[in-house]
């Protein structure tokens, strides 16, 4: 039988490894967007008639602000969890969740703006289709992020302080990643518009 100390040590090691899992997962997700970026560059270079050829909708500015603010709120939620302030943590998580939904809605709105301009997804200039691919794939990850947030809210109710904090750790790392990923995509598209 193991003594308690050794068991706690093994648990700590395992948690560290699980957090590392998340970092590796984010690396994998980033590789996917890196592949799309290089695909975009190669495609766009294939002819003068290719390229975004339109201004990106202003909506993207608003959605960027929203997701940056949501990063801030999850940071504060994380801090509240550290201080053991469970109700504040839950409130801030809910705010983050709502901001996530708003972000989602704004992105979909941006698609509407684009289609009204005649920049369709089904398009013989696939550089324009790529805008939808980038934002759509990012939104798929946002859905995963929202599920993680729900998990964190449930965890704040159910788990021990220790378990809650660990879950909160992972949730906020992932949410910040989604924020940075969007900023990367936005800057990439801006540079190519």
């Amino acid at each position: 039988m193991l003594d308690i100390q050794a068991q706690t040590d093994e648990k700590l090691v395992q948690r560290k490894a699980q957090k590392f899992n998340l970092w590796l997962g984010m690396l994998g997700m980033f590789m996917m967007f890196a592949a799309l970026s290089s695909g975009f560059i190669v495609y766009t270079a294939s002819g003068v008639d290719k390229g975004i050829k339109t201004l990106l909708p202003d909506t993207f500015v608003y959605s960027t602000i929203v997701i940056v603010v949501s990063s801030l709120t999850i940071f504060l939620a994380h801090k509240a969890a550290k201080n053991g302030d469970s109700s504040k943590q839950k409130l801030l998580l809910m705010v983050t969740f709502v901001l996530g939904i708003v972000f989602f809605a704004l992105q979909v709105h941006a698609w509407n703006v684009l289609t009204e301009r005649g920049v369709y997804f089904v398009n013989n200039n696939a550089s324009q289709s790529f805008i939808y691919i980038f934002t759509g794939m990012h939104l798929a990850h946002i859905i995963a992020g929202l599920i993680v947030l729900i998990g964190a809210i449930i965890g704040a109710n159910k788990l021990s302080k220790d378990g809650n904090l660990f879950r909160m750790d992972l949730a906020s790392i992932f949410w910040h990643f989604l924020d940075l990923l969007w900023i990367y995509i936005y800057v990439f598209l801006l540079l190519n518009q």
Binding site: L27, M31, V122, I147
Partner: protein, 623 residues
């Protein structure tokens, strides 16, 4: 993904060290235990391998006797072999699914999935993977992917048939050929699940190796198997997401009408609206995964055989550090050579030259490994166990298949050889046969660890010789066909005058394939019979040094009944002069082996050196 990490962590891990009773479902089906998951991967992989092998026998029959009817085929295949002759559409499906299953389901998931899961926790001294839940998820996604891939044989239009590389437009236009319809959709669904499974698995492997090694197990004390699994998982993590991107674009081309890969097409007399897309873009994205994929297939095999060859030569592996650095070299280079699959796509000759140079450089680390294997065998006290035979077989295939890589990597020669049987011969030897031999070597060697029983040795030898000779008889003649310009994936050699003379060679190849396939019955019988009736294994049947052999034969949750052993030395202390036995397990401290310690064992620890010198003086040992 992350949500699973979170939800799992809190509840389950307090139970290590306790041996609580688990329900049947938790123990055998939705198991989180790395040993059970390894067995699940292995048995699923074996089933998929048998399936894909039978497909290859079918198309070999067609190639050998294109003008002959085999009514029995119609009994089994119905309208795909009307009148006892395989249809051309179905022939394409056969080669496509054979390739897909062998490369991905057998040699990626079956190989890495089995042995990474089994050996990573065992050999680094961990109680389980970082996240057992993710591990379970990885297996079940793989299982569903396998079911969907096989299910594509049960749709009316037949399975995918654009080749395992699924180049557009065949894969992107559902109306192009029969296999482009539902079969292709199922292929894509299956592969997306498969990639998810591999990513989840690979992330877990890397994280476990980096974070959960036992005391004393620094990176340079890890067995080469672990190094190989580690680097394989990294390659997979960086390349599989790129395939996802390529497939996402492909799916939209198929389903939504976008034009990422399509342009100026007339299909069945109808002009398609798509314009401006580039099928070459797909090839770039595909081969950015596709080439690293061949190293994902071969590196674990190289890792397994390094271990088996050292153990059964009773010698330290020759050039341990060189072996690791060459694996790292292969890992890095694998990402910058994908263009050699595309030399004839109209690539800029300068770019072709660059890819040619990077490709040929891979010969260097590969040759380092081949020479190190030979040097390890040299003057070894070799024990020819079945596992050792398969390991030596891998070295043979790795060399004979690797040499032709030099020809294919050459951009000028590739103009002639591209898409011929020369390519088929090359990759079936260097990554197909070599990897499957590595996998079989692993099965024979670690069988006692997996099932607590031994496999029958005589059947093992029979299996080895039939497979080894069969593989050479199948693939060696293909080189000559390729040099003569015979293209791959052609349905009937009798249709073209210049190919007709090769029909007789095809008959030899087909007979060899059938005999080699029958040889696998020896393996299957041996494998499944020994699970229940094999001779009971001892704890360390091969007198090996690595940590997995310090665990009890009976599997327990958490691997070691007490504390996890501490590691004191590298895993290759075989036949160390001065020691009574010809092996010293990794968990034996130097204080117990005073008669065989060498100055460099202490890595500059002066206190230890002083104690050793004192002992030497007292016991009359020189140096």
């Amino acid at each position: 993904m992350s949500s699973t990490v979170i939800s799992h962590s809190a509840e389950h891990h307090d139970s290590h060290g306790h041996h609580h009773e688990e329900s049947f479902i938790r123990k055998y089906i939705f198991s989180g235990d790395h040993k059970m998951i390894a067995k699940q991967f292995l048995i699923t992989g074996i089933i998929m391998a048998v399936f894909a092998m039978l497909l290859s026998v079918l198309f070999r029959i067609q190639l050998a006797w294109p003008d002959k009817d085999f009514p029995i085929l119609e009994v089994f295949l119905g309208k795909w072999a009307e009148g006892g002759r395989i249809k051309a559409d179905f022939f394409l499906s056969l080669v496509t699914i054979h390739g897909t299953i062998m490369v991905f389901f057998v040699l990626t998931a079956g190989l890495s999935g089995t042995f990474s899961n089994l050996l990573i926790p065992y050999q680094i001294g961990a109680r389980d993977m970082a996240s057992p839940f993710m591990n379970m998820l990885s297996y079940w996604l793989f299982f569903i992917a396998s079911v969907i891939m096989i299910a594509s044989f049960f749709v009316e239009s037949g399975p995918a048939s654009a080749g395992w590389t699924i180049y557009p437009p065949l894969s992107a236009v559902p109306t192009a050929i029969a296999g482009s319809a539902t079969g292709m959709t199922l292929w894509l669904v299956s592969m997306v699940l498969f990639v998810a499974s591999q990513l989840i698995g690979g992330i877990n492997y890397v994280s476990t190796i980096l974070n959960m090694r036992t005391k004393g197990m620094d990176l340079w004390k890890m067995p080469l198997t672990i190094w190989a699994f580690f680097l394989t998982a990294i390659v997979g993590m960086l390349s599989f997401p790129v395939l996802v991107s390529a497939v996402v674009l492909l799916i939209f081309d198929r389903a939504a009408g976008t034009s990422f890969y399509l342009s100026d097409l007339v299909v069945q007399g109808q002009i398609l609206p798509n314009e401006g897309g580039s099928p070459i873009l797909f090839q770039h994205l595909f081969w950015f995964l596709g080439h690293p994929e061949v190293y994902i297939v071969v590196m674990p095999a190289l890792g397994l055989t390094s271990e088996v060859i050292a153990t059964n030569s009773r010698k330290p592996i020759f050039g341990y550090h060189a072996m690791v650095y060459s694996l790292i070299g292969i890992t890095v280079l694998s990402f910058i050579v994908w263009g050699h699959h595309m030399f004839v796509t109209g690539m800029n000759p300068f770019l072709g030259g660059v890819f040619m140079i990077t490709t040929l450089i891979i010969a260097v680390p590969s040759a380092v490994k081949a020479f190190n294997y030979l040097a390890t065998l040299w003057k070894g006290n070799i024990r020819f166990t079945p596992a050792m035979m398969f390991a030596i077989g891998l070295v043979s295939f790795f060399i004979s298949g690797g040499l032709t890589g030099l020809f294919l990597g050459n951009a000028a020669l590739d103009i002639n050889l591209h898409d011929t049987y020369f390519v088929v011969a090359h990759f079936h030897l260097v990554m197909g046969s070599a990897s499957i031999f590595g996998m079989l070597c692993g099965v024979y060697h670690w069988y006692p660890k997996m099932f607590g029983r031994m496999m029958n040795t005589k059947l093992g030898y029979l299996h080895f010789w039939l497979t080894f000779i069969g593989a050479y008889l199948v693939f060696f003649p293909m080189h000559f066909m390729g040099i003569d310009g015979v293209p791959r994936r052609y349905y009937a050699f009798t249709e073209f005058a210049f190919m007709a003379k090769w029909v007789s060679v095809n008959q030899l190849v087909t007979w060899a394939a059938i005999i080699a396939a029958l040889g696998q019955v020896a393996f299957l019988w041996n494998f499944f019979y020994s699970i229940f009736f094999g001779k009971k294994a001892s704890q360390n049947p091969w007198q090996s040094n690595t940590l997995e052999w310090t665990t009890p034969v009976e599997h327990i949750h958490g691997n070691w009944p007490g504390e996890i052993p501490t590691v004191h030395r590298w895993p290759y202390d075989y036949s160390k002069p001065g020691h009574g036995e010809d092996f010293i397990p990794q968990d034996v401290p130097f204080s117990e082996t005073m008669s065989s310690n060498l100055p460099h064992d202490f890595e500059g620890d002066e206190e230890a050196e002083r104690i050793q010198a004192e002992w030497n003086a007292q016991n009359g040992r020189k140096d």
